[in-house]
């Protein structure tokens, strides 16, 4: 077993565990993704409450940990120890299985999400088709949750939510198809790269990012403004898919008493929230892969050369050092009162941890540049790929929170009208024009 552990780490054979037929490493990748997504969901929960609060000129959670950093843990503990209430006339089996289906659909998408040229659990040839199919299974969870609760608010909320999700899936699929179309059309990159030989396109996620790498352009900027319009349509559709503001009528508290998960309490409700945040991160990862160049760093061709490579390689360390500096600034601004001693020490410790991670992440590229050891080089490239991918997804997460704070909610008929009468024709138009432009150029 140790041989199969080590044989996969050979830097010369860079393949995904799926290609290498290595079940052990596939399992390890899956566990890493589980842990990573869970930590990301907790961080997202904290960030949402703090960012929403600051948008609304208030402070948000401040008591539980320093600046509310332990609030997600307190929330999780509260939800776990709550009483599990099931309505008396509810269909017990369907009531039990509905959050699991939502969770399954949200987490299975991560099987194809690529964090690097060989860092995906399994790079299927039909990667994007798989992702579209699995995210369409989430609708089933919502419908069953609403029906099994045997109460009219959840039923109406579930019907509205599933109608919304199904409507925006069509526009999402068409936007994805126009991005796939761009993988095989090699004309007009960002800097006017002329037509290379038109290869065949690909549906595999790693292949899409590699197509962006070969064509020297992120698909966001390709055939400008077609890529941008397709990206905007996907961005709007993915907000509607995950039932987030401004499309959160089915779960808005003032409208429908929390919609399809009204009758769920405690651990089951936390499963729904976990599924929602995980689905948000999953579709953001898909958007990043399809349009924003996945794991590629910004300006690989305009600012090329080993000097610029080294400067961009310092970004992960500098990011964490910056976060540590912000934590130390917060420590300095804490009130000087004995009640706040523990919080001050906690925040300072958190700052030390962040700065320590930053120093380690700075040391790896510097050591790789100095010594040029193959293992350190491989570690640097992996670190940079994962870092750029996660940074882009983090930007999307912040945008989600920003939209929630800024925009009012769509009424349901406005929502459906927009999905069918605005998004679908625009995405069809983008697809047709992309095909025509790609063939002509």
């Amino acid at each position: 077993m140790l041989e199969s552990l080590k044989s996969f780490l050979e830097p010369s054979v860079a393949r995904t565990p799926g290609e290498a037929n290595n079940q052990l490493w596939a399992l390890i990748y899956v566990l890493i993704i589980f842990a990573g997504v869970s930590v990301a969901v907790m961080a997202m929960n904290w960030l949402e409450r703090k960012a929403l609060a600051h948008f609304q000129v208030r402070l948000g959670p401040m008591r539980v940990g320093p600046h509310g950093l332990l609030q997600p843990i307190a929330d999780a503990v509260k939800l776990l120890i709550k009483e599990d209430i099931i309505p008396s006339e509810a269909d017990k089996f369907v009531f039990w299985i509905a959050p699991l289906i939502g969770l399954l659909a949200a987490f299975t998408v991560y099987t194809v999400v690529p964090f690097g040229p060989s860092q995906a659990v399994s790079d299927m040839n039909i990667g994007i088709l798989f992702m579209l199919g699995v995210s369409s299974l989430a609708v089933l969870g919502v419908v069953m949750a609403g029906w099994a609760s045997n109460s009219h608010y959840p039923l109406i909320g579930a019907l509205r939510s599933s109608a919304q999700m199904v409507s925006y899936e069509v526009a999402m699929g068409l936007a994805v198809v126009s991005a796939i179309l761009m993988t095989s059309l090699h004309g007009m990159g960002l800097y006017g790269v002329s037509k290379l030989s038109d290869g065949t396109g690909t549906l595999s996620m790693i292949g899409i990012v590699q197509a962006q790498q070969e064509q020297h352009v992120w698909f966001l900027f390709k055939f400008f403004p077609l890529g941008l319009i397709a990206f905007v349509i996907f961005a709007i559709a993915m907000i509607a898919e995950t039932n987030r503001a401004p499309f959160d009528l089915p779960e808005a508290e003032s409208e429908l008493t929390a919609g399809f998960h009204t009758e769920y309490s405690g651990l089951r409700w936390s499963l729904f929230m976990l599924a929602e945040y995980a689905a948000m991160i999953a579709v953001s990862s898909i958007a990043v892969t399809l349009w924003l160049g996945g794991w590629l760093r910004p300006f690989p061709n305009l600012l090329a050369g080993s000097a610029w490579d080294f400067i961009f390689a310092l970004f992960p360390g500098l990011t964490f050092l910056g976060l540590g500096a912000v934590a130390f600034l917060g420590t300095a601004r804490m009130p000087k009162h004995p009640y706040f001693k523990i919080q001050t020490i906690g925040l300072a410790g958190f700052g030390v941890v962040l700065a320590g991670i930053g120093i380690i992440l700075l040391a790896i590229p510097i050591a790789a540049k100095v010594s040029n050891h193959t293992l350190l080089n491989a570690a640097t490239t992996t670190l940079l790929n994962v870092y750029w991918f996660v940074a882009k997804v983090a930007v999307f997460m912040y945008l989600y929170i920003w939209y929630r704070a800024t925009w009012p909610r769509y009424r349901f008929d406005q929502l459906m009208r927009m999905g069918w009468k605005v998004m679908l024709p625009i995405s069809l138009g983008v697809l047709i024009v992309t095909a025509i432009v790609g063939v002509l150029l």
Binding site: V139, L140, T200, G201
Partner: protein, 170 residues
């Protein structure tokens, strides 16, 4: 990619498919039947993957499990009455139906037993699923272009028909 543990996956997936089929035709509650049908559809999609047909598997999951079953669940929620769960579930003539189905099964088994010799000596070669989607695309827009257009016309007619049938006032 070399296939691994093929008999295990085949028997597991076909077991799920047949178990799901059994549950579809025997459950009192229509929603339970719909859930069992979803299990069957996903198991059949897995069988398509084993037959090196990834595109058909993807289409099965997106269209069947993600679209048609949502439609079924919507309609079940719209038309289900409480009294239907307590009523008689099977027809009055169910022995005749069962007999006819057994005759059909016997016919199938007879044909399969007689034709077993046709399948020997023709082993299924392993295949790389490298460009299945591209080749299906070439065939759909090449040989089967006419059928493709007619299928889209069929879908248009079906959309119109379903909307008009379900409207309250035409």
């Amino acid at each position: 990619m070399t296939p691994v543990a093929t008999p295990f996956f085949f028997y597991m997936l076909s077991g799920f498919a047949i178990l799901g089929g059994l549950l579809v035709i025997t459950r009192k509650n229509a929603v339970h039947s719909a859930l069992a049908l979803i299990v069957t559809l996903l198991a059949v999609a897995g069988l398509y993957l084993m037959l090196y047909a990834p595109f058909v598997a993807g289409v099965q999951i997106i269209v069947y499990a993600g679209g048609i079953m949502v439609l079924f669940l919507f309609v079940i929620m719209l038309v289900s009455l409480e009294r239907t769960v307590k009523e008689r579930q099977f027809n009055r003539i169910w022995p005749i139906g069962l007999l006819a189905s057994c005759a059909l099964l016997a016919l199938f088994l007879g044909v399969l037993a007689k034709g077993k010799t046709l399948f020997e000596g023709r082993p299924i070669p392993p295949l790389t699923e490298s460009n299945n989607t591209q080749q299906i695309g070439l065939m759909l827009y090449g040989n089967y272009m006419f059928a493709f257009e007619i299928a889209s016309l069929l879908l248009l007619v079906a959309i119109l028909g379903a909307v008009i049938m379900a409207k309250k006032r035409i």
